[in-house]
Symmetry: C2
Subunit: 321 residues, 2 copies
């Protein structure tokens, strides 16, 4: 398994404690999640029905502001796993550094993979990948720049896993144009990563292919129940977006007294340049706060946002030491 | 979407009623499910960890009586979706009639697909598929016959989705032999189809390929929590197996007064030959009991087993009319 955040089992093996003792800031998963609430028993017992899955798709279209074809998948990751099946293998270009599943997955499927540093360098690719906002550095691309790129590649995948709280960046409303495929994560913004729910939004042909590759029951009954509820809760989404914007500033201010520099971030995580990320991770881990480091970038430390005031206080205390 | 049981939304569209008014016997899903119980909050919020997924794999090995490599998937169906990726396309042979996803899925992936009627006719295939016991007709194959077939094909997939209650049929303990791949469904026997959990068991190379194709978080936190609990509950499994065996006989006896003939069945469903399956389906549906018919076999009616005594009574009443 490749290096990922959320690997709290490793933190426990190295530093001890039970899972519930830890504040896991190693991911960009919202720590004040959408309330789980009741799940009707039939969602556990019965196969998800076609009409339930369609209701989930309509809820996603509502939340993401699109009328383009949608398919629900077991997380954005499940959609990523299917990308190599969308077209015959060819040349993939990935705007890097970014989420570390794309390159090895496409390489393993026989694609020629090139990681490039600028948007313009994606032109000419059969498959171009842009994570917007980007993980882990928060780099953003304007809608007009991405739309200008679209005719210069065969297929443009925009991974909007972290776009919920910055919806002005989203190209979901442009989905349906040939060659444009948008990936969305449900679990991060709604704080329900264990549910395994995400979406692909695109033109009818691509979504038909992804639907066939996902099979008749691509997500669980619980994912349908909670997705239908949460994705229609506009008040919760806008309050959460506002809070995450405030909390991003709060975290940046809190670490100012450290010898850390903000590299960038999205509303669910912040990336800091530190003198020694492993040392910083260990300092936090001794107080049961888990963070994300990057083998390839030994100065980078990524922190998710604390949730409750208790979590903020504990982080402040550790940083003040 | 291809024709499947569990399509209660269609039943409601045609015959009315709310989902909870219906007794859905159109699938082979246990109607007295394993109790859902509590699911710890972190299973909703956090990404499934590597150690949790490994614990689930160990629970599956325990339940299925194997020490071979295992990978959890979003239902047996999710494993089926990945079969075309196991080897370069070639000649697939399927013991038919059977579960109707195999043939179109392999055809669409460019395999040459042949449906054969006898086990022996599978010999020579690059990929041979046997559902054991078979859905929908309950046909069974002895372990020794399947093991004798193994060296005569490149890869033998045994779909044991309905084998839980007839574990003497299972080849799970033989898994690990090169070319043998066993698929298991969690949702049917445990009555939790909405959870989307299944397993593939095989040799290390095949399981490594399926693991890579499934990605780092192939199943939900709830599936891990419930799978770990249910798959270790030997007492529940053996009591349920005994009940399903008794109830299969009970259903066969109950329909004797109809002009129906038992074609075959597994402990979770029974297949009857009727003078007119659509008419029989409609008779049951008017009393909100849903059943499975087969376009290709207009006399076949498949019934799952009722659960509660109330369900048995309602079925008896409808059949007595």
């Amino acid at each position: 398994m490749r290096e990922h955040g959320g690997n709290l089992d490793l933190a426990q093996q190295r530093f001890g404690g039970r899972a519930e003792d830890w504040i896991d800031l190693s991911t960009g998963i919202n720590r004040l999640p959408y309330p789980v609430g009741d799940i009707a028993v039939h969602h556990w017992h019965a196969l998800p029905s076609r009409s339930e899955i369609e209701a989930l798709h309509r809820a996603a279209q509502h939340a993401y502001g699109t009328s383009a074809p949608v398919v629900a998948t077991g997380g954005a990751q499940a959609a990523i796993q299917l990308l190599p099946q969308l077209a015959p293998r060819g040349r993939a270009r990935i705007l890097a550094p970014t989420y570390n599943e794309y390159a090895p997955l496409l390489s393993a499927a026989g694609w020629e993979v090139e990681q490039v540093r600028e948007l313009d360098a994606l032109a000419g690719a059969n498959l171009a990948i842009v994570v917007n906002p980007n993980n882990p550095d928060g780099r953003c691309h304007a809608r007009k720049d991405l739309l200008a790129l679209l005719p210069r590649v065969d297929r443009l995948v925009i991974d909007e896993s972290f776009a919920d709280a910055v919806s002005e960046l989203s190209l979901a409303s442009d989905a349906g144009r040939p060659g444009l495929l948008i990936l969305r994560s449900f679990g991060k913004f709604y704080g329900l990563a264990g549910l395994r729910l995400g979406f692909a939004i695109g033109d009818a042909a691509d979504i038909a292919k992804l639907t066939a590759a996902s099979g008749p029951w691509p997500v669980s009954g619980a994912a349908i129940a909670m997705g239908c509820r949460a994705l229609r809760d506009d008040a919760w989404a806008s309050a959460t977006s506002a809070r995450l914007a405030r909390d991003s500033v709060r975290l940046d201010e809190m670490v100012q007294r450290q010898d850390w520099r903000l590299v960038g971030g999205a509303p669910l995580f912040r990336l800091y340049e530190t003198p020694d990320a492993l040392a910083a991770q260990e300092q936090l881990a001794r107080c049961r706060i888990w963070s994300r480091v990057f083998t390839q970038q030994p100065t980078w430390l990524r922190l998710g946002l604390p949730g409750s005031e208790g979590e903020w206080a504990r982080l402040a205390e550790v940083l003040a030491r």
